[in-house]
């Protein structure tokens, strides 16, 4: 453990109640220094509330939050070394780009006023907005506004940058570019990023580690590969992608749970594999969905269970017509190494 970088944000048994509703329920998390950490979950899971508590915009009902080792649980937002990029960016509409970026500088007593102009320039260069200093927010595109919001927070050199669904308001095409840019920025600056998203691909693609949240609680914390390949709960498994569950009884192993195998790890075979190491069950093909880069097969097991198989179209579908046809028989094969045992929830 002592090899790990020190904690940047420590969240200890934090609870937030709004009246009767518990938005965040005894959550404990450690975000390491220089890490890009995502809070992933469906809307209403408490991820934004948790982020706002780290930023000081909400006060926890119970628990403590430490940033860089010091307790900030009751510290107002303007005295915290954490700055936020808001979902809709919250740029000041009456101020120019340069004035927006300079907004927080005057409160930093350690930054002499004479250097403010220079700092603003640097920050704008960092997000590639040089030359737009005099524009008003309403004269910018969505992507540019987002970069202003980033520059406005980064110019203050926060220990932690909080990002509340920063990509949600962008066009899908732009989103990918900004993801790459964010990751690059985070790596160059070495600042801890705490990132809130409901988009699993965003979380998987950007993060060093992810906390999957559900109903105010953390279901699992891990690297993107860990949460995808070894989900701790059925919820995590399903939230991160399509999932097939094979009841344990069907596999004849045990009971009280099921095996998870993701669609891309399943294969359709014409006959039961001779390799005894592979698992296989007979199925009937129900549907074939051609998607260009891949093909999705919907198949039914002996008791009518529905499974999804995803196959990459490594060869052109024109050269190799499909071997299987709807209504026909096949075997569903997989390597048992890719099956994840999931205990029945509540059992």
């Amino acid at each position: 453990m002592d090899r790990l970088p020190p904690s940047s944000v420590e969240i200890r048994e934090v609870t937030k109640r709004f009246g009767e509703v518990t938005a965040v329920d005894e959550v404990s998390l450690d975000v390491r220094k220089g890490e890009l950490f995502s809070l992933l979950g469906p809307s209403g899971c408490g991820k934004t509330t948790l982020l706002r508590m780290v930023g000081g915009l909400e006060t926890p009902s119970a628990g403590t939050i430490r940033i860089g080792g010091s307790d900030v649980t009751r510290v107002p937002p303007h005295r915290r070394p954490a700055h936020m990029v808001f979902q809709e960016y919250a740029l000041f509409p009456h101020l120019t780009v340069a004035e927006n970026v300079a907004f927080g500088l005057r409160y930093k007593t350690d930054v002499p006023r004479a250097t403010h102009g220079e700092k603003v320039e640097e920050a704008l260069a960092l997000v590639r907005l040089t030359g737009l200093e005099k524009r008003l927010p309403r004269q910018l595109s969505g992507g540019q506004r987002q970069r202003v919001a980033l520059a406005r927070a980064l110019v203050l050199e926060p220990q932690v940058l909080l990002l509340d669904e920063p990509l949600a308001a962008l066009d899908p095409q732009l989103r990918e570019d900004v993801q790459v840019e964010l990751k690059h920025l985070q790596r160059t600056l070495g600042i801890t990023f705490l990132f809130v998203t409901h988009d699993r691909e965003e979380a998987l693609g950007l993060s060093d580690r992810v906390a999957v949240m559900r109903q105010g609680r953390v279901e699992q914390v891990g690297t993107p590969a860990e949460i995808f390949e070894r989900p701790a709960t059925r919820f995590v498994a399903e939230f991160l992608g399509a999932a097939n569950f094979f009841p344990a009884e069907a596999a004849g192993v045990a009971s009280g749970g099921s095996f998870l195998v993701r669609p891309e790890k399943l294969r359709l075979c014409a006959e039961r594999s001779k390799d005894s190491g592979m698992s296989a069950i007979p199925v009937t093909i129900e549907e074939r969905i051609y998607q260009g880069i891949g093909t999705t097969w919907i198949v039914r097991g002996g008791r009518g269970e529905r499974f999804v198989v995803w196959e990459q179209n490594a060869a052109s579908a024109l050269d190799e017509p499909p071997v299987f046809h709807p209504g026909g028989p096949a075997f569903l094969c997989w390597n048992p190494r890719h099956a994840v045992w999931m205990k029945e929830e509540g059992a």
Binding site: L57, P77, H78, F86, F92, P93, H94, G104, R152
Partner: protein, 296 residues
């Protein structure tokens, strides 16, 4: 096609023009004409013997010349001063009220609280001003309470003073300040306040650098809505100020109702209106520059 459409628009606008013409433009022109005449011996108008002579002798400007006398300038100055003070006080009282209403009042209480701001409009302003008189007379409710509680040993002079006029004006104009302020504060995006706090601004700083600039259009509208009626006010100063505090409004009213010098009254009224128009023009230009809708 185009021409016909234009003509149709004109026909549709005709009622508007008729109403405006009959009840606004025509009286205005009559008043302007009146302001160039002179008072007859028994009130009424002095007949003009020779129009050429009348204009050449500059007699038609005599009313305007008279309005520049020290005594009238004094009244004008005091009126402006009272209007400025009223505006400043209503702003100082109205802003916190509108702020609390728009940003802090619980949702289900909001409409009711806003209703309380509007409720006074259900009663005639004249009646409400009389009510103030009854409250503040020497043997009025306020003095009786104060005497009864032993706070004072003789009745306070809170009627027929400048202070009484001031209180009456502020009371009467307050809703006109609160409502536009509330409208612009309600529109204010709260995440901007959070963003400012997150960037290091304390409460006072957030207010000064974000809240005030973003509600400036509401402030401007409130100032215009309060300042203009206060400038021409005569009911409040008449009832609560007695004979001692004459304002521009009283002066004009006096010329028509008491002194029976209609031409002089018309000239004063025109001067007041010119001042108000200039102010409105400045306001419209300001709003246009801000890219905001002109609310009046």
């Amino acid at each position: 096609m185009r021409a016909r459409k234009d003509r149709r628009a004109w026909i549709l606008l005709l009622p508007t023009w008729l109403v405006l013409g009959a009840f606004f433009l025509a009286p205005l022109v009559l008043t302007l004409g009146l302001s160039f005449r002179q008072r007859g011996v028994y009130g009424g108008l002095k007949p003009i013997a020779d129009l050429g002579d009348y204009i050449a002798s500059e007699a038609f400007l005599s009313n305007y010349a008279r309005s520049l006398d020290g005594i009238y300038l004094g009244i004008g100055w005091r009126s402006v001063w009272m209007a400025v003070l009223t505006t400043v006080l209503t702003l100082a009282i109205g802003y916190p009220v509108a702020y609390a209403l728009a940003l802090h009042a619980p949702r289900r209480w909001k409409d009711l609280l806003l209703g309380f701001v509007v409720v006074p409009f259900w009663t005639s302003f004249l009646i409400r001003t009389y009510a103030w008189m009854f409250l503040r007379r020497t043997e009025g409710l306020v003095n009786r309470l104060l005497l009864g509680a032993g706070v004072v040993d003789r009745p306070l002079e809170i009627l027929y003073t400048e202070l009484a006029v001031m209180i009456g004006l502020v009371y009467g104009e307050l809703p006109f300040m609160i409502l536009p302020l509330y409208a612009s504060l309600e529109k204010l995006d709260r995440t901007l306040l959070e963003a400012a706090a997150d960037l290091g601004a304390g409460r006072a700083s957030v207010f000064r650098r974000v809240t005030v600039p973003l509600t400036a259009p509401g402030i401007a509208a409130g100032i215009v809505l309060v300042f203009i009626p206060s400038l021409g006010q005569f009911v409040v100063s008449d009832l609560l100020g007695g004979a001692r505090s004459m304002l521009l409004g009283n002066l004009i009213q006096n010329q028509f109702a008491v002194a029976r010098n209609h031409p002089f009254g018309a000239a004063l009224a025109f001067e007041l209106m010119a001042a108000v128009l200039l102010l409105l023009l400045a306001y419209a230009l300001y709003m246009k520059r801000k890219g905001e809708e002109v609310l009046l």
